[in-house]
Every structure is written in C-alpha cells, then in structure tokens.
Symmetry: C2
Subunit: 400 residues, 2 copies
C-alpha cells in the first residue's frame, strides 16, 4: 500500500474490501460510516434511466440523519427494474444490521456495467467484514476501491483553521468516461469535520458541483448512476450557519477547491485522454450562452480529434461556436486565443497568426482555448480532454 495522502476526518470512518463483484482481485466495496449528528447533502444524475441505488438514495436522504454510505464498483445496478431496487434495499439493510442503524440511514451507490443484476450475495457476504474494518485512515484505499475504467485514484484535501481549530476536508472521486455536466458516471465523496447547518450544506453542494463537476466533459454522455455527496461530520468546531461569516466563506472556498481538484482529475484521467484543455468563453451576454459555446467547443468530436492530433485546426473551433445556437451572433466580433496566441480576429484568421505558433500551443499537454464573443461581459469556462484512438479502444472493448 502506498502512503496515505489524505487526512483523517474526525467523525468519518471508512473500510474497503474485496467483494469479488467482477471476479477481479481488488477492493470493490467501500463502506463509509458517518457519526451521529452529521449533515449530509448530495446531488444525483439527471438521467431519466437513473439506477436503482440512485432511486433508493434519493428516498433515504429526504429523511435526513444519514449514517452510512455503501459504494460498489463493477456493477451499476441500473436498468435492473424491481429486482434492482430490492437488491439496493437489501444492501442498505445489511449495512444497517452491521452498524446497528436503520436501513433508511444508508445511501447506496453503484458504478459499473449497466443492465446486469448485482451479485447480491457477494455484497451481503462482504458487508459485515467491511463493518469490522472501519477506520479513520481509509481514504486512500477508498479512492482505489471505487475505480472502474479510471487509471488512477482521485483524491484531494485541504486544511483550514476556523475559530482556532484545524478543520480537515478530504475528498475522493471516480470517473473517466461518460463524463458530462449534470453528474455523469462520476461518484464523488467529500467530507469535512466542520459542523455546517443542513440548509447551508444543501446550498454548498450545489455551488461546489456547479463550480466543478458540471464543468467537465469527456464525451458528452451522462450516466445513470452519478452522485456527489458532501458530508459535514460536525466533530470539530462551532456550528457554521451564517452564509456570510468569514469562517464559513473560508471553509466554503476550500471545499469548492477540493471539488475542482477532483473534477479536473477526472478530466485528466478521461478515457484515452492525452491533453487537458480549458475552454474559456468571454464576452457573453449571459452564463447560459457562454456555457453552451464552451461545451459545443469542448464536446465536438472534430475539435477533440484535432486536439489529439495537436493540429490547431481553428476552423473547427469556429464551426463549433457557430453551432452553439447563440442568437444573433455577430461573427465579426469573435476573437479566439490559444493560450496567448490570437488565432481568430474579428471572425477570421488573425493577421499575426502563424500555424507554427498555433501548433506550439496545441502540442502542450495543458492549454487554454479562449473564445471572446464580444457581446457582453459574462465569462465561463469548462475543462475537457482530447479524443484519441485509445478512447475508441477502451469503449469498444469495455465489456470483453
């Protein structure tokens, strides 16, 4: 085991165990125990075919007082009908029995292949073992247990001093394909030992997701299972209930930073990705049109194959911008920059632009494409990656 990089978060214990869900030799079941009195908030996928565990988790979180999370990799328990729901409930019941809580205090999560039933008995057998192994230093192992096509674990942490006390924030995430706004085959769990009032935490999880996971795209698909959970265990420090207090704002910023770091890690690990690209849109009339342009550019297969080829084919950028459905776009006001190199000026090729300068930027492993629409003062940004041969290979061979 490599050294632990994530701090312990008082009030949170974790256990990762091998449940052999896909006949592999690895941890694939994660149990997270949350101590009594914590606040827990979550956002879920908007896919209409949401998975059984998402349906159950939505039900349970409405009652509040959540005490445990159970996450399995290798099987999504999605499109599994009534049996899928009863499997998810059976998992919650097993956790409840092992931890002596109610089944409705457990949130279930699954990630993996869609359309196959959970190997329920394997999970039921593994849950009691997991309950006996709960420990505060389980974060790094947990980050590995929830991986599917991820090539590396994803985690981030911060420490903030509030009212003289050290407050910790630890987060883990998984996701590499089907990444898209509105929570796409992506799971993220962020916990702090601060005490944050439930309404404030509900607002914060939305804010944090909007600043992070809703700005990433690997291939424009959205999964059936995505979720992001934010836990404030309340083990340390005073209860934070004032949205304008300096303490809360400092903690909020650190929590958002953790989300952003996790979101970027997912893009960097995008299936087959070789480049990490920020698409920044400036000069929009409103946020919606800026985001539409950013995603149209960041999700265009033609743009993404050009990124892969390190080919500054700016015609494709222009094509994508034109496709974004911006009403009455004045193309002669559009400027485009590749890092500091202006490539499009007033809707056409910039006079000083050289193909060599463009290629130099496109060859970098990380760079920014800036689109200035010249019609307002709103800026937005997203993070994306390229579309490679490896992406096709991974997704053509996923089940075999």
């Amino acid at each position: 085991m490599p050294q632990n990089t994530l701090p312990q978060v008082p009030g949170i214990r974790l256990a990762s165990v091998p449940a052999n869900i896909k006949n592999w030799q690895r941890d694939d079941l994660l149990l997270i125990e949350i101590h009594a009195g914590a606040s827990v908030s979550a956002t879920f996928t908007r896919n209409a075919f949401c998975a059984a565990p998402v349906t159950v988790a939505r039900e349970h979180i409405r009652n509040g007082n959540i005490r445990a999370l159970l996450i399995n990799a290798g099987n999504a328990n999605a499109a599994t009908g009534e049996r899928g729901l009863s499997d998810a409930r059976a998992c919650c019941a097993a956790v409840a029995e092992a931890l002596n809580i109610n089944a409705s205090q457990v949130l279930p999560f699954s990630t993996g292949v869609i359309g196959e039933h959970l190997p329920l008995q394997k999970l039921l057998d593994a849950i009691p073992a997991a309950a006996t192994e709960l420990a505060g230093d389980g974060w790094d192992r947990a980050a590995r247990a929830i991986m599917t096509t991820d090539t590396r674990p994803k985690s981030a942490s911060r420490t903030v001093e509030i009212a003289g006390e050290q407050i910790r924030i630890a987060g883990i995430a998984k996701g590499a394909g089907m990444i898209q706004p509105n929570m796409a085959t992506m799971l993220a769990y962020v916990a702090t030992d601060a005490a944050i009032a439930q309404p404030l935490l509900d607002q914060l999880v939305k804010e944090a997701v909007n600043a992070s996971f809703n700005r990433i795209s690997v291939d424009g698909d959205t999964s059936t299972n995505d979720a992001c959970v934010l836990i404030a265990s309340g083990a340390t420090g005073p209860q934070l209930g004032d949205v304008n207090s300096v303490e809360y704002l400092r903690l909020r910023d650190a929590i958002i930073e953790v989300h952003i770091e996790l979101a970027q890690a997912i893009v960097r690990d995008g299936e087959g990705a070789t480049k990490f690209v920020t698409v920044q849109v400036r000069g929009a009339r409103h946020s919606e049109e800026a985001m539409k342009v950013a995603f149209e550019v960041g999700e265009s297969p033609l743009v993404k194959t050009a990124l892969y080829a390190s080919d500054p084919n700016w015609g494709r950028l222009v094509m994508a911008i034109g496709n974004a459905g911006v009403e009455q776009l004045e193309t002669e006001k559009v400027n485009i920059y590749l890092d500091d190199v202006q490539v499009v000026e007033a809707g056409g090729r910039a006079s000083a632009y050289t193909e060599e300068a463009g290629e130099q930027v496109f060859s970098r492993p990380e760079f920014t494409i800036t689109v200035d629409l010249g019609r307002g003062d709103i800026d937005e940004y997203i993070w994306t990656c390229d579309f490679s041969h490896e992406y096709v290979t991974i997704n053509a061979e996923y089940r075999t």
Copy 2:
C-alpha cells in the same frame, strides 16, 4: 471514366474541371447551368459562422431566376471575412461573364478546409474552361468533382411518367464527416426536368430535406457550408402547381426517394464507418421527443463505439435514452429491439434475451435499433453509423 449511371435532365448542363485548388490531380470545380425559366429552391446550414458562399447564395436566391451553380471542393471559404465574401462574388461574376447572365443569377458553394482564403485566381482561370465543357451527361463526373473526405461518389436517380411524359430526377451529394441535422458539411444537388411552381418547390425542398438529410448523423457536428438545392428545370411536361394532384404527389415521392438515397449514402460513407444503423423511436408523444431520443442514441460516442465493436451493450442505449430529456419518461414502459430481438422489456433486460442473439444483430453491417417509449403513437427514425479508430485517424490527420 466509369459508365454514366445518372440520366440526363433536360434543361440542365454540367461541367467538372480541375482547378487545382488543393494541388491535387482531380476535378474540383463543378459548374451547373440551368436553363431560363427554371424554379430553384435551397436550404442552407444554420451554423452562425456560415461560410461566405452561403451568405452570397442566400442573397442571390432571394431574387429568384437562378441560372447557374458553381461548386468548388478543397476550400470552404468559411471564416474568411470580407475577403471571403468578395472572393465568392468574384466567382459569381466570372460565371456570369462566361454564361452571359447576371452575377446575382449564380449560386456559389464551397466545401473543404475552413479558415483559408480561396485560391481565387485558380477558380477564375478554370471557370471559362468549364463554361465551354457544359454537357447534359455530366452528372457522374460531377458527383466526383464535389468530393472531399468522401471515399466514393454519391448519386441517385428516378424516372416518373407524368401526363404521358418521362420525367427524370437526378441527384448528387457529398459529405462524410460533420454530418448532422440542419445541413452539416453536406452538399446536395437534385434536379428534375419537370415544371414545378416556385412556392411548391420551396415547400418540397423542406419536406425532402426533413425526410432525408435532417435524419442523418455521423458525429453530431454541423458545418459552416451545407446546402441542398432542388432544381425543376421545367423543360418537360406541364407546370405542376397543385399540391394535391396525383402527378405532383408521384413526382414528390420520387424526389424524396432520391434525397433519402443520397442521405443514406452519406451515412454509409461516414468517416471511418463500418456499420449503417437505423434508429427508430416508436410510441412517443410528439415528433420532437422522438427525434431527440433517436439522435441521443444515434450520436452517443459510447453507443457508436459499441456499434463499432459489435458489442450489444444495451446499457448504453438505456443511458442515451435517459439523457434525451424526455419529460416524465416512465422507464418501465420502455422496450428496445435490435432488429427482431427484444433486448429491453419494461425498462430492464428482456427475459428471453440472450447475449448471443444481440451479438448476432450487432455483427450485421446494417440493422435497426427500435426504441418503444410506450407513451404515445408518434414514430420517427434516423440513420447513423459507428465510431471507429478510422474516424479518429481521418480527423486527426485531415489537414496533414
């Protein structure tokens, strides 16, 4: 030269010449002459960054009385600013001079790389030569002259008897990537020698495009240059002006068939495509939601890589359907069929489904995915292809 497969259409003459636009050895400039008194209708790209020739063609067609089309391959004359517009106008003027008509009677079209200026002099040099070579039997050579990344020419034809006269319909198209509804890097020219009143023809081109080119997708991108032109030369038979006449309806059906054949030929020649797949959506409440579901399935990179792999990963179909934003979709009413094999029943795996049966269908070069939403009686369909290694190769290396 292979034998001509397309019929001559009285009232239409064509000439294809090499203008050496991309330093290649091939025809790349097509001139189509239309005799006086013809009706001409067209639809154009909705991309806001529309190319200079699209702007000019839109201007010219408003005046009616169109007498010639000029189409070049190898350069899109898009994102080329004022100079692009004046280049397109200069081409029209050269055609007008050669044919002794007005420049406003010429529609210009370009396809190829975006963002580079037209090699204007090469076009101006080639236009007079083209004018001297106009001939009625130029359709097959024309289909080749307009190709870019196409691997084969695309053409279709029909003959219909109206009022005792043989009426001919001939059509050519180009397009292989950036194919999407609303006319994406796709050019199509269909002509008949029938006489169709202008208002009827204007309606017919919309109907025909809606039944054909707006139902295809290769990669979800839309180009700056697309156009579809329908010409009724009026050289043969009586003027058709009644939308309900048997003669008109018979001609209309044949014209729509030509459009569909051309549209399907584009999908079959999709960049890197190895499969031709019809996505049929049944049981929708209205056409919009049926089309949204069809395109969400037909454009999902995860579905398209599964098609490529001949892997009936129906979980991805379910994921894509769930992403289509259908309001209050009842997933337990959704059924999915791969040709005649039911794979999803009531939102879950069909009890009689076997992986082998699914694989057998997915291995076919052509098959139909049918999604029954079970919420209405509207059906729609689109045609799509798979996403292969070859797609990435073609698009990563297009300019090099």
